[in-house]
């Protein structure tokens, strides 16, 4: 099945969600909790993450959209990025590379 990565606040996390990137929580300057990429979150994990003040995580979501819907969503995201960057000087290498990375991030 096709998947996609999404960064979400801890308040949106649910049991069964699969981590899309390793999750490390630094608590009082020390690494206090860590879960590997691909780990499926349990209710206990969610409790631990709240207790350790985790604020966000990267999860891998099943992408059940049709190809057409993926294309529509990607076009909408790209339009919004282009609206935000409307009128900027894309001949400036710094601006151009920032624009490219934001566009790719939003299209993922």
């Amino acid at each position: 099945m096709r998947t996609r990565l999404s960064y979400i606040p801890i308040s949106d996390a649910q049991e069964g969600m699969v981590l899309g990137a390793p999750l490390s929580v630094v608590y009082r300057g020390m690494l206090s909790l860590t879960f590997p990429d691909g780990h499926a979150l349990t209710e206990e994990n969610l409790h631990q993450l709240s207790a350790h003040f985790a604020e966000f995580m990267c999860i891998e979501l099943p992408d059940e959209r049709s190809d057409e819907q993926v294309a529509v969503d990607a076009a909408a995201s790209a339009n919004r990025v282009m609206e935000i960057f409307n009128g900027v000087d894309l001949s400036n290498p710094t601006m151009a590379s920032l624009f490219d990375q934001v566009l790719l991030y939003r299209s993922a």
Binding site: L5, Y7, I8, P9, I10, S11, D12, A21, Y27, R28, G29, H47, Q48, S50, A51, H52, F53, E55, F56, M57, C58, R80, V81, I84, F85, N86, G87, V88, N92, P93, T94, M95, S97, L98, F99, D100, Q101, V102, L104, Y105, A108
Partner: protein, 290 residues
């Protein structure tokens, strides 16, 4: 030629129409380098404010649910020892400044103003953690939260004219600083810096507020570069739910100073910023004036 020219004296005089600037913020920043004094200052700040106390105790009680502590935590000192100075300092700073901004009841002021400030504050903190240059994350957070404080002043000074400025900037694809300069003879960065000086904030934060749209005017100043890049990122990532999010300029020199390279390795930083910004805006809404 500007329609009017607002002076520093006028800005300070009119600042009395803003709520009192929270002294806790300057006290906390002044005590950052003194661990002994810092805990006393912080505890006093927390104890005197019921909203901050509630937030700190709530976090401490979530932590105590792990089972190390029996019973409910109901005093601030135990809470600080449990969740740590850094966490309590962050809650206190954001809560104080959120209440300050929320206390400005100006008709027509976008409700997304504070969300944008929080997003830039979070970006500053995350960029501070991402780069190798040593920068106080607390100073970065405060500079980010206050970077647009000059806009808040314009809203209280002349709400109708300032709304016109915003509309013009949005519809004519010109920067808000240029339009402010045309209407008021001064822009929000300068007004914000005057206010920050008046409130005796550290000079680094004053410089960051003044220079966040023109970081090349303060070459080598990491905090200025950081707030500039943080605001660009908050807009680029469309944080804070603002229709008016726009990128107009990014300083190559500021990116180089922070050693930031915009390649595929930067995307996890985007994700962290987005996730934390949504979390922070849920936890720290501005408290509206009643």
């Amino acid at each position: 030629m500007a329609a009017m020219t607002i002076s520093r004296e006028e800005v300070i005089l009119h600042s009395t129409k803003l709520p009192s600037f929270p002294r806790f913020v300057t006290d906390i920043l002044a005590a950052l380098d003194d661990p002994e004094g810092s805990i006393t200052v912080l505890a006093n700040c927390v104890i005197r404010d019921p909203v901050i106390t509630a937030r700190v105790l709530s976090m401490a009680n979530i932590a105590s649910a792990r089972g190390r502590y029996a019973g409910e935590i109901s005093d601030v000192y135990t809470a600080i020892s449990l969740i740590g100075m850094g966490q309590v300092r962050q809650i206190t700073l954001v809560s104080c400044l959120g209440a300050f901004v929320g206390g400005v009841a100006v008709q027509g002021m976008p409700t997304t103003f504070w969300k944008h400030c929080v997003a830039v504050g979070v970006c500053c903190e995350e960029v501070a953690l991402h780069i190798s240059a040593p920068v106080s994350s607390d100073a970065a957070l405060v500079a980010g939260l206050l970077h647009d404080i000059g806009q808040l002043w314009f809203y209280t000074f002349n709400p109708e004219l300032y709304k016109k400025c915003w509309h013009q900037a949005l519809t004519q694809a010109v920067s808000i600083e240029e339009v402010e300069q045309d209407y008021f003879g001064v822009n929000h960065s300068t007004v914000g810096a005057w206010l920050a000086e008046h409130w005796t904030l550290p000079t680094g934060i004053v410089a960051a507020i003044r220079g966040h749209h023109v970081p090349d005017s303060a070459p080598g100043d990491t905090l200025v570069a950081m707030v500039h890049v943080a605001e660009v990122l908050a807009n680029a990532l469309d944080l804070g739910g603002r229709d008016e999010n726009r990128v107009t300029y990014i300083s190559t020199a500021a990116c180089e100073l922070l050693e930031l390279t915009w390649d595929e390795k930067i995307r996890p930083l985007f994700g962290r910023i987005e996730g934390r910004s949504r979390h922070a805006n849920g936890f720290f809404p501005a408290e509206p004036k009643h």
